[in-house]
C-alpha cells in the first residue's frame, strides 16, 4: 500500500521553529512530527510513502534517508513547483499513486493521534466505496469544517464549514483513505479537497466517515502543539508507560526525558514536559507543560510553563517564561528576565523582559 502526506509549504503557523527546520522535522515528543506518521504507516503495512512538498525538499530528503532503511519503506518526494492546495498534490503525484490499484492513504502532516490505519483499511474495504474520512469529536465545532453522516453506516450526507448553529460535533480529522478512482476527479491545479472534491463525492454516495478513537490534535501552531503534547503523553501513559520517565525525585506526572539529558537537583519537572537529547537543566528549575528541544540549556531557579524552547537555546538563571512563549533556534535569554507569550526569532539574545505577548525579530 501507499500513502501520500500533505507536507505543504513554509509552516508559517509554527514559526519561529520552522524558520530553522521544516515543520515535519520539528520534534514532537522527541520525534520529528513526520516520523510519528511514518512509523504508524509502516506498522500498518504501507511500503511506499509520497511526501507532497513545495519547500525545502533537499533538507527533508537528507534527513529521511536513514528513515527509509530503518522502517524498510520507500519515501518519494513529490516536489511541487507551486502550492497546489489539499487536492492538487494528488493530481501531481498521479503517476506514483496509479502504479497499482490498491487504495492509498492521504494524511495532513500536522495531525497527531493514535493513527488506527489498520482499522481504517478494514472499514474502507467493508463499505467498498471510493473514500473514507476519519472524523473526530470536538468541543467547539464552530471553528472547523463539520461532517454530517449516518451514524449507522457512516455514509456522509453533508459538509458544513464553520457552522453558526450546531449541526454535529464531528469534524474532518485530516486522515483519509481513497481508491485510485478519486484521481479522475482531480485536476492538476490548486484545489481544496475539503471544499471542492469531498462534497461531490458525498453527493455520489462515495464517501464514508469513521470515528477516530482516542485523542486528536492539529499541532500546526504552538498553542495546539503544547496541547497535543499533553494528549500524546497521556496516551503514551496508557499504551506504553515504560517510555515515560518514572515519577518521583522531582518528576511530576507525564514526562518524557531523553536519556542524554541532564537534570539538576531540586528541580520540579512536569506534568506534561518533553525534554530532548543533550538538554541541560540546572538545579532548582521548575518546568510545566513545555517542550525543550535538543541541546537547550536551562539555568538554575528558572520557571517555565507552556513554552517551547528551541534547539540549543540558553535560558538564564531566575527567568520566568509562560503563556506559549516560543524560542527559535539558538536564542539566549539573559538572567532574571520575564517572557510572557514572546515569540523570539532564531539567534537572538534577549536582555530585556517581554512583559506582554509580542514577536521579537
Amino acid at each position: 500500500m501507499k500513502a501520500l502526506i500533505l507536507v505543504g509549504g513554509y509552516g508559517t503557523r509554527l514559526r519561529p521553529l520552522t524558520l530553522s527546520t521544516p515543520k515535519p522535522l520539528v520534534e514532537f515528543a522527541n520525534k520529528p512530527m513526520l516520523l510519528h506518521q511514518l512509523e504508524a504507516l509502516a506498522e500498518a503495512g504501507v511500503s511506499h510513502i509520497i511526501l507532497a512538498v513545495s519547500y525545502r525538499a533537499e533538507q527533508m530528503e537528507k534527513e529521511l534517508k536513514h528513515v527509509e532503511e530503518e522502517l524498510k519503506i520507500k519515501i518519494t518526494l513529490s516536489v511541487e513547483p507551486e502550492a497546489l492546495g489539499t487536492a492538487g498534490p494528488l493530481a501531481f503525484a498521479r503517476d506514483l499513486l496509479n502504479q497499482d490499484t490498491d487504495p492509498f492513504f492521504v494524511l495532513n502532516s500536522d495531525v497527531i493521534c493514535e493513527f488506527p490505519f489498520k482499522d481504517m483499511i478494514q472499514f474502507h474495504r467493508h463499505h467498498g466505496k471510493e473514500g473514507t474520512i476519519m472524523v473526530t469529536k470536538v468541543e467547539e465545532p464552530s471553528k472547523y469544517g463539520v461532517v454530517v453522516y449516518d451514524v449507522e453506516n457512516g455514509q456522509i450526507k453533508q459538509f458544513v464549514e464553520k457552522p453558526q448553529e450546531y449541526v454535529s460535533n464531528k469534524i474532518n480529522a485530516g486522515l483519509y483513505i481513497f481508491n485510485t478512482s478519486i484521481l479522475d476527479r482531480i485536476e492538476l491545479k490548486p484545489t481544496s479537497i475539503e471544499k471542492e472534491i469531498f462534497p461531490v463525492m458525498a453527493a455520489d454516495v462515495q464517501l464514508f466517515a469513521m470515528e477516530l478513537k482516542g485523542f486528536w490534535m492539529d499541532v500546526g501552531q504552538p498553542k495546539d502543539f503544547l496541547t497535543g503534547m499533553c494528549l500524546y503523553l497521556n496516551s503514551l501513559k496508557q499504551k506504553n508507560p515504560s517510555l515515560l520517565h518514572e515519577a518521583g525525585s522531582g518528576i511530576v506526572g507525564n514526562v518524557l526525558i531523553d536519556s542524554s539529558a541532564k537534570i539538576g537537583s531540586n528541580c520540579r519537572i512536569g506534568p506534561n514536559v518533553t525534554i530532548g537529547p543533550d538538554v541541560v537543566i540546572e538545579d532548582g528549575v521548575c518546568i510545566k507543560r513545555c517542550t525543550v528541544l535538543r541541546g537547550a540549556h536551562i539555568k538554575s531557579h528558572s520557571w517555565l510553563e507552556s513554552c517551547i524552547i528551541g534547539w540549543r537555546c540558553t535560558v538564564g538563571n531566575w527567568v520566568r517564561m509562560e503563556n506559549v512563549s516560543v524560542l527559535g533556534e539558538d536564542v539566549i535569554v539573559k538572567d532574571e528576565l520575564y517572557i510572557n507569550g514572546g515569540r523570539i526569532l532564531p539567534h537572538k539574545s534577549i536582555s530585556q523582559s517581554v512583559p506582554d505577548p509580542q514577536i521579537i525579530m
Binding site: 531540586n266 538545579d283 532548582g284 521548575c286 538554575s300 531557579h301 520557571w303 510553563e305 538563571n317 531566575w318 520566568r320 509562560e322 532574571e336 520575564y338 512583559p355
Partner: protein, 421 residues
C-alpha cells in the same frame, strides 16, 4: 551648643507612602535597615556640640515611636524628645509653639530637618558656612542643583554668587525661577523666632473669626511665611551641596534611598555590609543583612538589597534592588526585583515579585527622583516599585508585577499593574 529639630509630621501625611504607612508612622519606615529618621539622627550626631534632638509632629504617642526614641538615645548617647503638636501646625508652627523647649540651654543655633527627605546631609559644613555669615543672619538653607524642568516642583532659590545670600525664593513656581532648590534642611539662629512670631500673629489676625463652623488657623508655613519674607533681606543664606539628596515620599523613593544609604555605609564603614565567603550567600554590590535573618547559602543578593530582622531567605532565592521587612519569608527559588516585601509576608516557591524603578535619568546632570503620578491619564496604574503590604501570602509560582498589595491579603494568582485591595 546646638540642637536639631526633625519635623516628622503626622498620620494625615505620608499618603503617597501607603500601604506601608498604614502599619507604622512613615518616618519610622526602615530604609537600609533603619528607620528613615534614624539616618537624620545619625547625621546630627556627627555635628560637634550638638546636644539634643527634638522630634516635632502630631502623631499620638505610640509604642513604635517610643521604642525607637529609647533605642536611638542609647545608641547615640544623646537626648531625644518627641514634642506633640495639639493639631497640625504647619511646617513652622510646631517650631514656634515649642520655642521655649527649643531655646532652653541657649543654643547658638539649631538645625531643622524635614523627615521626608533623605541624603548625605553635610550638617557640619552647613554650620561652618553659617558661622561665616554676617552678624544678624537668621538662617542657612541647604540647597542643591536640579534640572530646569524639575525645579518647578521644589522651592527655588536665587542666590548672590559671592555672598550666597538668598536674593529671592519661590515655592513650586509655575515658571522657571532657578535650578537651585531647597533641600528641606535648615540651620536657624534663635533670631528666627522674631520672624515666626510676626508670621504667627499676622496669620492669626488674618484668619481670626467668630464663626464656629470655620475654626481659626494657627498654621505657620516655613516656606511661604518665613523663607519668602526673609529672602532679599540679607539675613538668609544658602549652603549648596553636591552630595546625594532626594525626596522620600513614595515607595519607589524608598528603593532609591536604600541604594544611596547602603553606598554611604560602604563609603564610611558606618554599618557592616554583607560580605562574600564560604557557605555564605553570594553578594553583589551593597547588601545589608540583619544579623537575625537566615539566608540560605545558595541565595544571590544584590546589588542594593536590605534584609530585615528575622527574615528567612530560602534556597536559590534571588533579590535585587529590594527591601525585605521584618519577619518576611522568601521561599525557595523565588525572585524579587525592585520590590518591597512587607512585614511577616510570605512569597511562595518559584514566584516572581517585580517592580519598575523610576530612577532619575542618569544622563541628565542634576536630575532628581521624580514621584510619578500613580495613574496614567487614561486611568491605568503607572509601572512602579511593587509593594507587598504586611502579612500578605503570595502563593507559589505566580508573578506579581508592578502592583501594590494592601496588608493581610491571601493572593490566589498572578497580578500585573494592579492595586489589590
Amino acid at each position: 551648643m546646638f540642637k536639631a529639630i526633625i519635623l516628622i509630621g503626622g498620620p494625615l501625611k505620608g499618603t503617597r507612602f501607603r500601604p506601608l504607612s498604614l502599619e507604622i508612622p512613615k518616618p519610622l519606615f526602615p530604609v537600609a535597615g533603619f528607620p528613615m529618621i534614624y539616618h537624620h539622627i545619625a547625621a546630627c550626631c556627627q555635628v560637634k556640640g550638638l546636644k539634643e534632638i527634638i522630634l516635632i509632629g502630631f502623631y499620638q504617642p505610640n509604642d513604635a515611636l517610643n521604642k525607637f526614641i529609647i533605642s536611638a538615645q542609647q545608641e547615640f548617647k544623646i537626648q531625644i524628645r518627641y514634642l506633640q503638636e495639639y493639631t497640625a501646625l504647619g511646617t513652622a508652627g510646631g517650631i514656634y509653639h515649642f520655642r521655649d523647649q527649643i531655646l532652653t540651654g541657649n543654643p547658638q543655633c539649631f538645625f531643622v530637618l524635614n523627615s521626608d527627605v533623605c541624603g548625605d546631609f553635610p550638617l557640619q559644613d552647613m554650620l561652618d558656612s553659617h558661622k561665616k555669615n554676617p552678624d544678624g543672619s537668621i538662617g542657612t538653607v541647604l540647597a542643591t542643583e536640579a534640572t530646569r524642568q524639575q525645579s518647578l516642583t521644589f522651592g527655588c532659590i536665587v542666590e548672590d554668587q559671592n555672598t550666597h545670600e538668598v536674593l529671592h525664593y519661590a515655592e513650586k513656581p509655575e515658571t522657571f525661577v532657578s535650578t537651585l532648590i531647597n533641600c528641606g534642611i535648615y540651620l536657624f539662629s534663635p533670631l528666627i523666632f522674631q520672624t515666626l512670631e510676626k508670621a504667627f500673629k499676622s496669620n492669626l489676625e488674618e484668619n481670626y473669626n467668630f464663626d464656629f463652623n470655620i475654626p481659626s488657623k494657627e498654621v505657620i508655613r516655613l516656606e511661604q511665611d518665613v523663607l519668602i519674607p526673609l529672602a532679599g533681606d540679607g539675613k538668609l543664606f544658602v549652603h549648596q551641596t553636591k552630595r546625594f539628596w532626594s525626596q522620600l515620599k513614595s515607595a519607589g523613593a524608598a528603593i532609591y534611598a536604600n541604594r544611596h544609604y547602603l553606598a554611604i555605609y560602604q563609603r564610611t564603614g558606618s554599618k557592616q555590609l554583607a560580605k562574600n565567603g564560604e557557605n555564605k550567600p553570594q553578594i553583589i554590590g551593597d547588601v545589608f543583612i540583619h544579623p537575625t535573618a537566615q539566608v540560605h547559602p545558595s541565595a544571590v543578593l544584590g546589588p542594593n538589597v536590605t534584609i530585615g530582622r528575622h527574615v528567612v531567605v530560602g534556597e536559590g532565592v534571588r533579590l535585587r534592588e529590594s527591601i525585605v521587612l521584618e519577619g518576611a519569608t522568601l521561599q525557595d527559588h523565588c525572585c524579587i526585583l525592585y520590590s518591597i516585601v512587607g512585614w511577616h509576608s510570605t512569597i511562595g516557591v518559584w514566584s516572581r515579585v517585580e517592580g519598575t524603578p523610576n530612577d532619575p535619568n542618569p544622563n541628565k546632570p542634576f536630575a532628581k527622583l521624580e514621584i510619578p503620578s500613580m495613574f496614567t491619564t487614561d486611568g491605568k496604574l503607572n509601572p512602579s516599585i511593587t509593594v507587598i503590604g504586611s502579612d500578605v501570602q503570595v502563593p507559589s509560582e505566580v508573578i506579581i508585577l508592578n502592583s501594590i498589595v494592601l496588608p493581610h491579603k491571601d493572593l490566589a494568582g498572578c497580578y500585573k499593574n494592579q492595586i489589590i485591595l
